[in-house]
């Protein structure tokens, strides 16, 4: 299963795509980081793959 992540450009915290897709737009979960991270920050092919296989990224 392809595992997709995004790295916050401000603090380096890595966020899994399932977490990004849950929130779509979220404050970076890195403590004290003010950066906003978005599902749209992922490359287009990664977003498409995730959305086509969304069920597999859920419990």
């Amino acid at each position: 299963m392809r595992i997709i992540t995004h790295t916050c450009p401000a603090c380096g915290t890595v966020v899994a795509a399932n977490q990004l897709e849950d929130s779509r737009v979220m404050k970076c979960p890195g403590l004290g980081c003010q950066e906003v991270v978005r599902f749209e920050d992922l490359p287009e092919d990664a977003r498409e793959h995730f959305l086509e296989n969304r069920d597999r990224y859920q419990i």
């Binding site: 299963m1 392809r2 595992i3 992540t5 790295t7 380096g12 915290t13 890595v14 966020v15 899994a16 399932n18 977490q19 849950d22 979960p29 890195g30 403590l31 597999r56 990224y57 859920q58 419990i59």
Partner: protein
């Protein structure tokens, strides 16, 4: 070599303690379980560590460990979110790990011997992975590895009816970056998770050699209250304990006692080690603190007889009863009902609490 420490999970088996925090921060001998993992990795020479965070306790873990500099390591946080399995957690660390090998350490586990020997064993060959194994009495209850005469793993079997060995996987692994290709090929298991044992099996089938390292000292998964007490006992037995605080004249002490320099054992108190007493804690007259007990910071004990227990901290325990084999959460207070009418115990007990009165 890098380290990846798994710190997700709901901690459901440790409720109510984990209603307010992650299970990896429950203290054993007054130190959060996760700290043992960070220290073990550092001892093995691993200072670049990725900490995988779930949905619970993210801020608390980051607040405690920060960027890792206080522990002499460099920590990157990796938010897995949903617990989609150990292989998913490892896969989330792919960018962090890059082309390095890495140790994967379950953050709610403690093992006596650390991971240094596991890493050394892995580095003696060109392995796809290395796994820590321990001999168990009931192999039917574990994931079991079959190994050849040279210690290479030949097969992994989950809870076999007829186990070929009694060597159980204990949740400590070393991986080469080849594991990421194996994870890419995985499908979720029947329980909807990406299983790390499936990834290792795929490495085997792809022709990689898998090293095994048999752990001889104790190992403890601290997932349940009884496990915390057991781990506390094992760590207190094995740790050099330093009495820095004040032991007043008239206090009786015996055995190894760790006493923080801001803590006091007062005249008339009895403490029998091994015991750990954290900062700003007072053991008052009439209290007895018996072996295998850890008392957390900012606590006061008076009149109580307590042993083989863990008091996490910020507690006032002033009843004259006996507490044994118990785990008391932060800010839990136990007073006396002797003067109260009608007679009887007064309880304010959280969800999922367990009491034996």
């Amino acid at each position: 070599m890098k380290g990846v420490v798994l710190s997700g999970g709901t901690g459901s088996r440790l409720r109510p303690i984990t209603h307010t925090g992650p299970k990896q921060l429950v203290p054993v001998a007054n130190k959060p379980v996760l700290e043992y993992a960070i220290e073990d990795l550092k001892e093995a020479g691993i200072t670049e560590i990725g900490v995988i965070l779930g949905n619970k306790g993210r801020d608390e873990i980051q607040e405690l460990f920060g960027d890792g500099s206080e522990y002499g390591v460099d920590i990157t946080y990796i938010v897995q979110g949903n617990p989609l399995g150990l292989a998913h957690a490892a896969g989330c660390a792919k960018d962090f790990v890059g082309d390095d090998d890495f140790v994967m350490y379950l953050g709610d586990n403690i093992l006596k011997s650390g991971v240094t020997e596991l890493v050394k064993s892995f580095e003696t060959g060109n392995y796809g992975a290395g796994i820590a194994l321990q001999e168990v009495d009931d192999p039917q209850a574990f994931g079991i590895a079959d190994v050849d005469n040279e210690g290479n793993v030949t097969e992994l079997i989950e809870k076999p009816d007829e186990p070929p060995t009694n060597l159980a996987l204990i949740g400590m692994y070393v991986f080469s970056p080849a594991v990421f290709d194996a994870i890419d090929e995985l499908e979720p298991s029947w329980r909807g998770e990406l299983e790390i044992t499936d990834a290792i099996q795929d490495l085997l089938e792809d022709g990689y050699e898998i090293d095994s390292h048999i752990v001889t000292g104790w190992w403890k998964d601290t997932g349940k209250p009884q496990d915390i007490l057991e781990a506390n006992r094992l760590v207190l037995e094995d740790t050099e304990l330093n009495t820095a605080g004040v032991v007043e004249d008239g206090a009786q002490t015996d055995g190894c006692i760790e006493l923080a320099d801001s803590s006091v054992i007062e005249d008339g108190a009895v403490v029998r080690g091994p015991v750990s007493i954290a900062e700003n804690t007072t053991i008052k007259s009439g209290a007895y603190v018996g072996p295998y007990t850890s008392i957390g910071a900012n606590s006061t004990l008076e009149d109580i007889h307590i042993e083989n227990s863990v008091v996490i901290g910020d507690s006032e325990i002033t009843t004259n009863g006996r507490i044994v084999d118990s785990l008391l959460g932060r800010n839990a207070n136990v007073g006396s009902a002797d003067e109260l009418l009608p007679e009887g115990r007064r309880l304010v007990v959280g969800e999922n609490s367990q009491l034996k009165l």
